[in-house]
Symmetry: C2
Amino acid sequence: KKNYRIAVLPGDGIGPEIMQEAVKVLTLVGELEGVTFTCEEGRIGGIAIDTDGTPLPEETVTLAKQADAVLLGAVGGPKWDQNPGNLRPETGLLGIRKALGLFANIRPATMHSSLVDASSLKPEVVSGVDLIVVRELTGGIYFGEKKRYDGPNGEVAEDQCIYHEAEVERIIRVGFDIARKRQKRLVSVDKANVLESSRLWRKVAERVAADYPDVELSHQLVDSCAMQLVREPKQFDVIVTENMFGDILSDQAAMLTGSIGMLSSASLAAGSFGLYEPVHGSAPDIAGKGIANPLATILSVAMMLRLSLGMDEAAAAVENAVWSVLEAGHRTGDIAADRSKAIGTIEMGQLVRDEL
Amino acid sequence: KKNYRIAVLPGDGIGPEIMQEAVKVLTLVGELEGVTFTCEEGRIGGIAIDTDGTPLPEETVTLAKQADAVLLGAVGGPKWDQNPGNLRPETGLLGIRKALGLFANIRPATMHSSLVDASSLKPEVVSGVDLIVVRELTGGIYFGEKKRYDGPNGEVAEDQCIYHEAEVERIIRVGFDIARKRQKRLVSVDKANVLESSRLWRKVAERVAADYPDVELSHQLVDSCAMQLVREPKQFDVIVTENMFGDILSDQAAMLTGSIGMLSSASLAAGSFGLYEPVHGSAPDIAGKGIANPLATILSVAMMLRLSLGMDEAAAAVENAVWSVLEAGHRTGDIAADRSKAIGTIEMGQLVRDEL
Ligand SMILES: CC(C)[C@H](C(=O)O)[C@@H](O)C(=O)O
Ligand SMILES: CC(C)[C@H](C(=O)O)[C@@H](O)C(=O)O
């Protein structure tokens, strides 16, 4: 009997509640597929700051490295917002990305037909949107050298944005590989009319394109892409871009669907290892109330099954169970048209398992 | 009789056509107000590359410096797209910003009620949107040091993002000054959880806030701001942000209105000097056809009258003339629901002058 080790990092705010439902779904999948998932919990973010004095304990990194994949809830909350940089929850997130070499962030933004009304865009503009943003996650201005010093006219601050050809190449290849399995249209986003790193980016994208003659590559400047995402999001299949632009564009793309409580993401290393998490945050305002939407975390489980464990059918079964529950009209508060009929976190998790 | 010197830089593509209408409006304003506008033409962008071998001839800089304000059409086109950096039209644009010290880019995104249908957002989400993005325009990663060299594993590219306290302070003050004259709500956008330059930015914003107790300051991370602009753009009054984020967010905000052919922008130096231009580009595909929308350029004239020449009433008169023409149902092709009824550039310009 196959055994997979899964590192489970619930994190802060609603993290533990939604993770609980996701783990129950995973356990059920194990029973149905005759596979064992050994889930081992670790701390990250605010809870780790409180318990271990650091947002990313060494223990958590070790746990994650020994696992086949990682499930993450969410990190952060007002309690830690005024902390210095090394004691902030998101430093744990940046740290684990780097420590595990998670260079490829995959963020699908899919408009499920029964949720079209939740979007702030016109139904005809968003219905059918099905795009993926592939974001470089361990380079660029996020991890370049930072400086702060006193100049003749007050303080000066510097951030270095640096990209190596090999770093660009591997993420561009991820973009092409994903596009190849979809509509075969890849838009590489940069700011090549201003940035040197973008000129390198574009050059590498052009070179790698020769290996993917079946995929259509085009380039968009980041400002135009931000416009096009608003104007006609359906034009996109796969977008590949650098870390900072990907942060902005993937959040913008997620919000186009209007139901960010439904979206999950994968952060992949070379090989099959990956970390999976919902796109939404830790929502401290509703933490502990049992009303958070667990579907994005459950869909993260599906992504994990597909991308790290090669269990495509089980992944599809989880996704279909989620769509069926939605089609039957069940909603948590964040996506309910009529909030008085909204169901809770545990109830939603149970409904998905019933469908499975 | 007062005499103002205006440097007119039509640029490329539709630039000359739309500028012609704007200058005619300006001339009429002069007659009505008893003021002389001496308009002197200069070259910038592709036309300057072709004629002078550089996108920003010294002559043009001199002309602009001697003027009271500058009107710009648009630059760029496929003809120059493959040129090396120093021979690209946008290098002229970056150059003139730096040469004239135009550090404050003011980009209003206003949803005019008669154009609500042009937006890809739901009418209830966009109607009433009236926000201004204040973008720092001569610092940050745009003008930091750039490097390109060979490393052990291929090429390496670097862009430095650098901000001095004084640079941050002057743009934050512009944001506060504008907010003070409006709804008194300023959102400062940064990425303080990752970037050192953003941490300086936020610190300076907090310090300067003490001088504006009547204005409510809040901070948003750039990724959240990109989401909030999609979700509920009406929440914003004035946004102030650094160069790269401002490039992306101001274009995103512009596209929310769906009628980018209507939006104008100002780039201001210390004092009253400024450069005024439409937000849209040079649209090479429709250049020379006489169908381009001249309204954004005409509204740029209004911005110039107000911000550089102190002619508030004349500015309002031009704006009102534009709104009247729209309310009477006249549309150029880009904003027409029924394209067969669309009017041309010259006709639109004439209608505005008739209203004036
Ligand atoms: C919390 C923050 C550092 C992080 C990022 O910017 O990468 C977040 O916005 C994300 O997108 O996962
Ligand atoms: C053409 C380009 C260099 C420019 C910029 O990025 O500033 C443009 O996008 C703008 O916003 O005016």
